[in-house]
Each structure stands twice: as structure tokens, then as C-alpha cells.
Symmetry: C2
Subunit: 116 residues, 2 copies
DNA sequence: AAAAATCGTTTCGGAGCCGTATCATTTCAG
DNA sequence: CTGAAATGATACGGCTCCGAAACGATTTTT
């Protein structure tokens, strides 16, 4: 079935989702970080620093720093490309998969609680 | 009709929405700022600094600073409460209403583009 | 083999946001 | 009328993020 979302429902969903994230987590991911994370988890590999930077229309250091941060959180993982050792391949982790799953569950739960 | 969102659709919606925000805007609002903004636009007034801080489970300076920032952007507006001049009433602005509307439209558009 | 190009990282100065503690203003209680 | 309470703003030191530029490592070109 197609997803039919009215503007007022969209705003409430957006509010409720962010509200829960803000209340639960001390430190939130930025919009850029979320986009990078979900891109890696939704788009087919391989993912490189340069590729992600081009796709998101940001500079390369933004990706490098986001990988530093989310790498420390163990949400993503760096690996050198064995074929071309200049490249860095960005890969998923178990912890990252769980985090993404939590995002999805939260969205689904909040959407179910929306008024008709 | 009820909103029926599957986890994979939820993730794609989250990604596509954030992706568009990141690509379009140089400077994004933080999760806290979005939550404050939408709370003011969705919940019935009055909205005070103290009330918002309690609702979002953050400290008062967080609200004050968010109002500084979003006030500079003209997305929200401060007004002294004439009844009790200790209070600050947080109110909507024309520009803020347009911004919120843009958020809603973007969510709706991205939800319509979701795969079945 | 040398030079050029590619890729990711690091450095730099600057800006924003954080929590804690403190402050000024206003209201209320005794 | 005066001291306590309530409210929002500010000061402070710390952390993260930013874009631009420079850098080291690797690959490709000449």
C-alpha cells in the first residue's frame, strides 16, 4: 500500500521523531552525519570518501571528520581498498546496523501513532 | 486512512529528507532546534523558556541560545509576557511558518516517492 | 624514472553549541 | 516594605564542527 502522508501528519511525525531523539540521546548526530550513515546503509557499496562528499555536496574533510566521529561510536568502519590503496572504503558495523534499526523502529512507531 | 510505514520505507524517507536538507541548506538546524521550532508551531501557546526546557528535557540556556539563533533567522520571536514580565513568550513568525511549511512539503514529497 | 594527478588526512583560525554557575529583573509572601 | 522565589539571560571553559589550504601516500601518465 502506498504511503499517504498529509502535511500536518508529516510535521507531527517529524516533531515526534526528533523529540524522542533529543530526549533519549545526550549527543545527537548532525543532519550530515545521519545522511552519511543512511547512505552507507541504504545504497549499494562501495562507498568512498570522495564519492560520499560528491553525493552530499560537501567537502572531503566533512566526510573524514564524520567518519572519525562515527568510527569512534563504532557506527561505521574504514577499510583501505586493496585494489587501489588510495581509496578508503566505508563499511557497516554491527553496532551501526543496530543503530539504524533503532531509527527505523522509532519512525515506524511514531508513524503508527499519527492521528487519522 | 492510517499511515502504514514499513521499516525500509521509514529509513528511505529519513534518508531522503535529510539528504535534501543537507544539499539545500548550508547551515542545518540541530535536532534540538527543529524540535523547539516544531513544538512552538504544533503545540498550543503559550510557550515559555522554562516550559520548553522542561518539555524537551534540556537546560534553560539551551532554549535561550536556540531562541537567539532562530530569532536571528527570524523563524521564532520573543515577546515579554505582559501579565508576568518575568516570562518570555515564544511566538511564530511569518518566515518561520514558511520554513515549517517547507519542511512539511518536503516530507510529503519524499513520502510520495517511496517504493511500495 | 620523473612528473602529474588522485585520494584521504591534517592543520589552521573561526564559529556554534554544550552544561554549570552566576546574574538582573520581576513577582510574591510575610 | 523587605527578603525569598521564580524567570530568563549571561559568563565561562570546553568540545565539536566548519571551509580552505597544505600535506603525505599512492597511482597514473609521460
Amino acid at each position: 500500500m502506498a504511503v499517504d502522508l498529509r502535511p500536518s501528519q508529516a510535521l507531527k511525525l517529524l516533531h515526534d521523531f526528533n523529540y524522542e531523539m533529543v530526549r533519549d540521546d545526550d549527543r545527537d548526530l548532525t543532519a550530515r552525519q545521519v545522511t552519511i550513515l543512511l547512505t552507507v546503509y541504504l545504497d549499494p557499496p562501495p562507498h568512498t570518501v570522495r564519492g560520499l562528499a560528491a553525493k552530499l555536496n560537501v567537502t572531503k574533510p566533512v566526510i573524514t571528520r564524520a567518519l572519525d566521529t562515527m568510527g569512534r561510536m563504532e557506527l561505521l568502519q574504514r577499510r583501505r581498498d586493496p585494489a587501489d590503496r588510495r581509496n578508503v572504503l566505508v563499511q557497516r558495523t554491527v553496532k551501526g546496523a543496530l543503530y539504524v534499526e533503532r531509527l527505523a523502529d522509532l519512525m515506524v512507531a511514531k508513524s503508527k501513532a499519527l492521528p487519522l
